[in-house]
Every structure is written in structure tokens, then in C-alpha cells.
Amino acid sequence: MNRPLTTLVWLLAFTALAMLPQVLSVKYYLHLSILALIWVIVAQGQNLIQGFTGYVSIVQAGFMGIGAYGSTLIGIHFGWPIWATIAAAPLITALFALLTGYPSLRVKGHYFAIVTMAFNLIIVIVLVNFRELTRGEAGISNIPKPWDGDRDAYFYLALTLAAAMTLLAALIARSRVGEILRAIRQNEDLVGAIGIAAWKYKLFAFVISAMYAGLAGALYAHFQGFINPEIFGVAQSLDAILAVILGGTGTIAGPVIGAFLVVFLPELLRFADSFRLILYGLILVLATIFMPIGIVGVAKTVLARLHRPGARHDG
């Protein structure tokens, strides 16, 4: 698709989403949409390190937890307003990401995935055991919600932030930094050989990715009003990876579609009762096998074939 058409599609998608509170009579779907928008931010962050840089990080939910707890605890202990705590969350997460990113990024491939997974496990262990601060597994209840918990208003907040974060991801992807990140994904040794300090760019992608997760975590905490360590476990980090793979790795639209899928699909499958998770797993396995390039990748392939000269005569 050319750029004006792509922009038009994005605007239409944004407009359609913005109309949801007026269109949806059942607020449950709005609730899921807010969660999905929060997951858009998580997945866009994951895409920066996984999709563009080629490093599969399994700590995104852990960083989400740092953002969620950071925002909540600052509010409780220092009395900061919600807006300030939400704004502080990505900064706190960035600090942790800097500390963990430097040692993690010294290794590549599977080793990087394992190291980041270990960090996620450590984050959960600390959240569970540092009870004096985090209240452990019992979690923190009654986290203040803006607009007295009004879901319509929160939807627009989540939509605005998800759109802004998606735009930022697109700007990064199109910038020189984005080009270097893609080059690292394709041949990191070559990037080093031409005099570019690859580690700086990898660390940049890792920290920005964590900041996305931290922001999403803060939004989650102030939306749900409750957090405990279970929400930020490795399983949720795998969901972030899945969102990117299902939607389309290394694309901007992919994480958006993937995020909505990982939130809505398990809910839509509730009709299957105890077979729900089996069905969900099966769909994911089949999608990964038959659509390794994700939904956006498949759509691009189909569009390319349709626009190929003589496509109409191909039968």
C-alpha cells in the first residue's frame, strides 16, 4: 500500500475505535477493548525489541509489573496524583531496563531469551516476597481510578496513548535508528563491522520496549484497581510475544491486531467451557504454523498478488 492509503486506513481504524463507546451497548466489550488497547502498548514495545531488532525478550510482563507497582506505590506513599504516577511509571521501568539490559544484551539468540525470562521470574519473586512494600501475593486493592472509574473516559485515555505509542513506534521504525535496528536483526556482525556500536542501539530498543511496558502496566493498575504478582508472570510475557507473532512481526499494524486477538480470543471462546484453553492453544499453534508472517504479513502478500500486473488473469 502507498503512504496516503496507509494513512487513510489508520485514520479509519482510529475513527472506528473512537466510536466504540457510542456503538457498544454492552460495556463488557468496552472493558475488553480497554484491556486490548493497553496490550497494544505492550505489544508495540515488544515489537521494537523482538520484531525490529530480532531479540526475543521474555520480560515484557515483568516490566509491566514494575510500571504497575511503581505507579501504584508512588501514589500510595507519596500522594502523587494519578497522572504524575502514570507518567513516572515508564521512567522507573527504564531505570530497571537499563540495569538489566546491559548484562542481558551481552548474549544473543536463545540465551538472551532465557536471561530475560529469568529476569521476569526474579521480578515476580521480588513482588511476591517483598511483602512490606508490595503486599505479596495478596496484591494491592483499591488503586485509585481516574474519573471515578468511568470506562468511557478511560477508553479514550487508553486509545490516545495506544495511538501515540503506535505513532512513536512508526517514527522510530522509519528513522535511521529503525534502519540500524533492522540491520542488527539481519546481520549484527556486519553492523559492527561498519563501525556502528550495535550494543547502544540494542540497549535503546530494550529500554524503549520496557518503557512501553511500564506505561501499559500503570494504565492496567489504574484501570483494574487491583494488582498482584500473578498478572505479571512469564505467561503474560509469552502473550506479548504471541501478539507480535500473530499480528505480524516487524510491522506497525501487526501488534495492534495481535493485541486485540490475545485479549478477545480467549473471551470469545468461553462458549467452549473447559475446552476453551485447548481450543485457544490449537488456534495459536495452527496460526503460527500456517501464518508465520502474521495476519499483516498474509494481508500484504494477498494485496501484492492482487496488484501484480496480470493478476486478474492468474485465475
Partner: protein, 403 residues
């Protein structure tokens, strides 16, 4: 044509004859949010079954009577996997989409706390079952009640019992990362210390752990004179099994609430022999009242499995709700029903042996209390041995002081 006319005439005649005195039959949707899959399902699935069974019984007896209307109960159950986000989604679906005003179930504390954090703003009533985290009823949520007493209420009684047995050095192994289990152990420790005893080890296992030999080997080296196991049924069963395999020959106490069937999936009756379970006086045939025995029989007949000891917490929820709706005289005004729940005497149909506070099933915090009991595994069965010393009124006052 003639048949249709006759049928119509008969129907008209019946409706005229019945007049206004015949109750109009209506439907009342009741939601269940519980762990139907995953680790928490050992508690959640029997709870969901128990609610369905209670609904069938109430429906067969004519339903919930409100004025001239009789409401037949329609149970809608969703799986929350004992996960906070899933639980929130499930309850949102029940309230927002299915129009449910009464939500029951809730076996597990994390998922329950997540729902409790927003339920006060909903026109709905939440009845919590097996979830034992204390803070659920310290928040004074007016439309929330819980049938199971908090863990430390039982822990206090258990500590006194263990101390009376003369144990001075108790080793603990359990799911201590879970808030209410650690609250139970803290209460035990407090009572032990009063009697000059101590807890010499606090070893942790997680829900999915199956190999407990590292923790037990460490405990064996400390030579405790008793072992206390707190946690979900399956990992606890592995602890009991492996403690025998490692030759740890000391009295074993637990806080698990598992049925015989659930333990025997993992361990043998010989390995369980002599184990104590110090818990609320939940369902075992020997401790059960008439209602309990009937409950056990019906559950086993319908679901082809023994009920878990804690499952009647959910069964009792529905009978308490029925009594509250009938007392309030409305199904639509959830505030009135929530108020009626807090001034409700213990309904005669309940299975658990509740200790009313000031004559009411639920205290001002929305908390119900059962008696606590010492159960011992004897020849393949949990046998009720004695009541544990418990003071519901005093605990209720203490709970009221917490935030």
C-alpha cells in the same frame, strides 16, 4: 383446528381458575465465577457444581418466592482460572452482558480480590466462597459477603491445638507465598510462642511443585518434633508422600481441605495415616449434619465424584442468597438484598456448621464463621476428632478493627 380451539379453551379455563393467586414463574440469572480449569480447579469446579446442585434443588422446590412470583434459578458459570484479569473479565461479562445481579463462587484469593476491588460500585451482590485471604472482608464492602472464615481465624485455633499436643519445634512447609497461608502460619506461630514453642523452618513450595525432597531434606536435618503443611491439595499430598519416603517420622499437621479422593490421586492411604488436617469444620461424613450427609450423597450421585470438603461454601451461598432475596422481597434491588444478607439468621438448609455472631450468619464485615475442627486420616478416611477452640465473636470484633 378443533384440537387447537379446545387446547386454547382449556388453557384459558386453567388461567381463569388459577386466578391471581398462582405465582408467575420467572427466571433469575445467577452467575458463578470460579476456577474451572488450572490449579485452582480442585476447589473451583466443586464449588461451581455445588451451586448448580443447590439451584436444581431450589428450582425443584418451587424456586425463590418473592411476593406472588416464583423465580427459577438459571446458573451461568464462567472459568476465571484463579487469575485476577480473567476473573475481572468473567464478572464483567456476567454483569454487563448477561445482566446478572448475583455472583457466587470465588474459590481463590487473588481473583476474588480483583473482583472485590470494583464490586462496590456495581448494582450486584458478590458472595465469596473458599477464598480465605483476610483482606477480602476487611474492606467493609456493603455488597460482599463470604461464607468461609479467614485463614488466621482457623490458624489461631490450630496453633492452640498443636501447642496442646506438646510440640515445641515445628517445621513448616507450604505455599507461603500465598497470603492467606502465611497468615495461617503466623497465627499458628503466635499461639506456639505463647506455649514456649517455635517454628524452626518455613520452607516454601509453589502450586506447581511436585518434588518437595529439597525442602523436606532440609527440614529433616533440623529434627523438628512436628511438621505443618499448608497449601493446595496436590502439592500438600506430595509433601505427605515424600515425608514418609524420606523417613521423617514426626506427627504431621496440615491446612489443605482436600477430600480423600483428591489425596489418593497422589499418595497412598498408608502414607497419609495419622495426618491431621486443622481447618474449618467442613464437610466430612463423620462431622456432617443431616444436611451434610444428604449433600454428600446427592453430589456423589449427580457428579460421580465425592465433593471436596470446601465445596459447600458455595452451596450455602445460594441458600443464603435465596433467604435474603425472600426476606428483602425483591430480586431487583440489590442494595436491599445485600442488607438482608447481613441481618440473616443461618438458613436451615446450609451444610457447613456456622457460628452465628449476634444471631446472624454474616457479621458487620460480611463475614461468616464456621467452627474449626481437627480431622485425622484414619484408614483411608478423614475422621472428625474434635472441635478446635474458636471464638467467632471475638474474631469478628478484631476483623472489624482492620482496614
Amino acid at each position: 383446528m378443533i384440537i387447537r380451539t379446545i387446547a386454547g379453551a382449556v388453557a384459558l379455563a386453567i388461567s381463569i381458575a388459577a386466578g391471581p393467586g398462582l405465582a408467575a414463574e420467572k427466571k433469575l440469572a445467577v452467575g458463578v465465577a470460579d476456577a474451572l480449569t488450572g490449579g485452582g480447579a480442585v476447589y473451583g469446579l466443586p464449588q461451581a457444581n455445588a451451586v448448580k446442585m443447590a439451584a436444581d434443588e431450589i428450582n425443584a422446590a418451587g424456586g425463590i418466592k418473592v411476593g406472588a412470583d416464583a423465580y427459577k434459578i438459571d446458573v451461568i458459570a464462567y472459568d476465571d482460572k484463579a487469575n485476577p484479569t480473567e476473573a475481572t473479565n468473567a464478572v464483567r461479562k456476567l454483569i454487563d452482558r448477561d445482566g446478572v445481579k448475583y455472583v457466587l463462587g470465588f474459590c481463590c484469593s487473588g481473583s476474588t480480590s480483583a473482583v472485590a476491588s470494583f464490586i462496590a460500585k456495581e448494582k450486584a451482590v458478590m458472595l465469596v466462597g473458599n477464598a480465605a485471604e483476610r483482606s477480602i472482608t476487611t474492606q467493609k464492602i456493603p455488597n460482599l459477603v463470604r461464607t468461609r472464615p479467614p485463614a488466621d481465624y482457623t490458624g489461631q485455633a490450630a496453633g492452640t491445638f498443636i501447642a496442646r499436643k506438646g510440640h515445641k519445634r515445628v517445621a513448616v512447609v507450604g505455599a507461603l507465598e500465598v497470603g492467606f497461608y502465611s497468615q495461617y502460619v503466623d497465627a499458628v506461630e503466635k499461639e506456639l510462642k505463647k506455649a514456649g514453642g517455635e517454628i524452626v523452618a518455613r520452607e516454601v513450595f509453589s502450586l506447581r511443585d511436585r518434588d518437595m525432597t529439597p525442602q523436606l531434606t532440609k527440614i529433616r536435618a533440623l529434627s523438628p518434633d512436628a511438621l505443618l503443611v499448608v497449601g493446595y491439595v496436590e502439592p500438600a499430598a506430595f509433601v505427605y508422600r515424600q515425608s514418609v519416603e524420606l523417613g521423617i517420622n514426626v506427627p504431621r499437621y496440615g491446612f489443605t481441605s482436600g477430600s480423600e479422593e483428591q489425596f489418593l490421586r497422589v499418595t497412598t492411604s498408608e502414607q497419609m495415616e495419622g495426618v491431621w488436617d486443622l481447618r474449618p469444620t467442613e464437610l466430612t461424613l463423620l462431622s456432617a449434619s443431616k444436611n451434610g450427609i444428604a449433600y454428600h450423597e446427592n453430589y456423589a450421585r449427580i457428579f460421580k465424584a465425592s465433593p471436596s470438603p470446601s465445596s459447600p461454601y458455595a452451596y450455602d451461598q445460594l441458600y443464603a442468597l435465596k433467604a435474603a432475596i425472600e426476606a428483602a422481597g425483591t430480586v431487583d434491588n440489590t442494595e436491599a438484598v445485600a442488607k438482608a444478607l447481613r441481618s440473616l439468621p443461618v438458613p436451615p438448609q446450609v451444610v457447613m456448621q456456622y457460628q452465628p455472631v449476634d444471631g446472624k450468619m454474616f457479621d458487620e464485615n460480611g463475614q461468616a464463621y464456621t467452627s474449626n475442627g481437627a480431622f485425622q486420616w484414619q484408614k483411608g478416611k478423614w475422621v472428625f476428632v474434635e472441635d478446635l477452640p474458636s471464638d467467632a465473636k471475638a474474631y469478628s470484633l478484631f476483623l472489624g478493627t482492620l482496614k
